[in-house]
């Protein structure tokens, strides 16, 4: 194992958050842990966040990807609001992924709102980290100062 004094490439920074009145954070924590072990910097904002709080965290942290966990059923409403907020703050270039108990029929609706990928129950951690890495890499390539 090498331990360089300076890492030339900044690790990818991912916000992991739970929106709405839903205290079931086991899933979000498993994801946060898996991302950390895969070399990501994970900012975990915890449960019962508002879309405004998550957008603000993503902006302040200059996140590469936002991962939202929702098990309450209110995903369409919250994600719509989150996307609006991100746009308002000039941060709609940050890709958003959603995971949780999402009915299959809502997956396309979420994607229409701009969500890049939706992870349903039973999804492998491997694929989740792979998708998030790919999204982060794409964004870093496109990122502009202004």
């Amino acid at each position: 194992m090498s331990s360089p004094q300076y890492i030339e490439e900044r690790p990818f920074k991912v916000i992991v958050a739970k929106i709405g009145l839903d205290g079931h954070d086991r899933g979000a924590k498993v994801i946060a842990r898996a991302l950390k072990d895969a070399g990501f910097e994970v900012v975990y904002t915890g449960i019962r966040q508002t879309p405004e709080q998550v957008a603000r965290a993503a902006v302040e942290e200059d996140a590469d990807v936002i991962g939202i966990s929702i098990l309450s059923g209110a995903h369409i409403h919250h994600i719509q609001r989150l996307m609006e907020k991100l746009k308002e703050m000039g941060a709609d270039d940050i890709p958003v992924v959603v995971g949780g108990t999402i009915p299959v029929i809502d997956v396309d609706k979420l994607k229409e709102l701009g969500v890049k990928d939706v992870f349903l129950p039973g999804e492998s951690l491997r694929r989740i980290t792979d998708v998030i890495r790919t999204l982060a890499e794409e964004r870093r390539r496109k990122v502009r100062l202004l």
């Binding site: 004094q5 900044r10 990501f40 900012v43």
Partner: protein, 328 residues
């Protein structure tokens, strides 16, 4: 991403006018001043120098993040804009990090006068301190009056960062050891203000007495500036003792201003930055030179020939390569 001065200047201007997205992006750029055009850094620093930098340190689990979260509204009530730099460790195994300090500070997400940024310790040694010092300059330039820097422990990096702070808060809690523990070298020596958090816990009074005894005897705290370190019993979770603590922080700020130490601290944080930045350049040069001659050295190393001599040779050549650095 290439950085050019005019774009950076536009970004800085946007950030100054309250564009949080611009501030977030600039912080990322400032994290590694090594890549910055030198003129841009001066542009930022020339607008800085007024903020009150507060270091918050102490053992893991002492409640630093919660304390900061409760301190923020107190500082906001006094009219200050508040920035927080929250530092969490990077895993040496995966290189990843779980930055959880923010979790306890999310109450302030809607307040435009509060900005919270998490940083990981990354490749460490100079890297973290360099990033933190550089980000302090930016927050200061953007007009944040109180900049809180939260860090764990007493490594060299923390000492460098704390050397940049005007006021150092050391946070501890009941039940983490006896009076001898309190006297141990390190974190307990550097505080201007000691905070015994979780004072709602059973052993709080005993811990308070240990600490106040050690303070009275001058065995605890930093007396270099002529300030007498203070001790506060608070409970961040219950929101108790925050006003008194904020008063003490402001009192310390006025004190160091009155003796001219505030300005010296700004100079000292920039000196540290210069030292770390030059270390950074040397390190990169050594790494590059080493990579270049590694194969050649391997044979020599096996034959035990000139092992130490090669070290100075690598160092010399690295310095020579530094002459080819972009002109400043």
């Amino acid at each position: 991403m290439s950085l050019n001065n005019s774009e950076l200047a536009v970004l800085l201007d946007k950030a100054r006018r309250g564009d949080l997205r611009a501030t977030g992006k600039l912080l990322t750029i400032m994290e590694d001043p090594y890549r910055l055009p030198p003129e841009f850094f001066d542009m930022v620093a020339s607008q800085a120098g007024r903020a009150h930098v507060i270091g918050v340190t102490g053992i893991p689990g002492a409640g630093k993040s919660t304390l900061i979260s409760r301190l923020i509204p107190e500082l906001r009530r006094r009219g200050a804009r508040v920035a927080v730099i929250a530092i969490d460790p990077t895993s040496p195994i995966s290189g990843g990090a779980l930055l959880g300090d923010r979790l306890r500070m999310q109450d302030h997400a809607m307040d435009p006068g509060v900005f919270i940024r998490s940083v990981s310790t990354r490749g460490l040694k100079g890297g973290l301190s360099l990033a933190a010092l550089s980000m302090i300059e930016l927050f200061d330039a953007l007009g944040y009056e109180k900049i809180l820097v939260e860090t764990v422990g007493v490594g060299q990096a923390e000492v460098d960062i704390m050397s940049a702070a005007h006021t150092i808060l050391v946070v501890t809690m009941p039940g983490v050891g006896d009076d001898v523990q309190a006297l141990k070298a390190g974190v307990m020596e550097i505080g201007d203000i000691y905070v015994l958090n979780k004072s709602d816990l059973p052993d709080a009074q005993k811990a308070y007495e240990y600490l106040s005894f050690a303070l009275d005897k001058g065995e605890l705290g930093s007396y270099d500036s002529g300030w007498t370190p203070k001790l506060f019993k608070v409970s961040a979770v219950m929101g108790q003792g925050m006003a008194e603590l904020a008063d003490a922080i402001d009192e310390h700020a006025s004190y160091i201003r009155s003796i001219g130490l505030a300005r010296l601290k700004v100079a000292s944080r920039r000196l540290t930055l210069i030292r770390l930045m030059s270390e950074r350049m040397l390190t990169v040069a050594v790494e590059e030179e080493f990579k270049r001659v590694k194969a050649e050295l391997e044979a020599k190393a096996l034959k035990a020939k000139g092992i130490l001599a090669e070290a100075s040779e690598v160092a010399r050549r690295a310095c020579k390569n530094l002459d080819n650095l972009p002109p400043t």
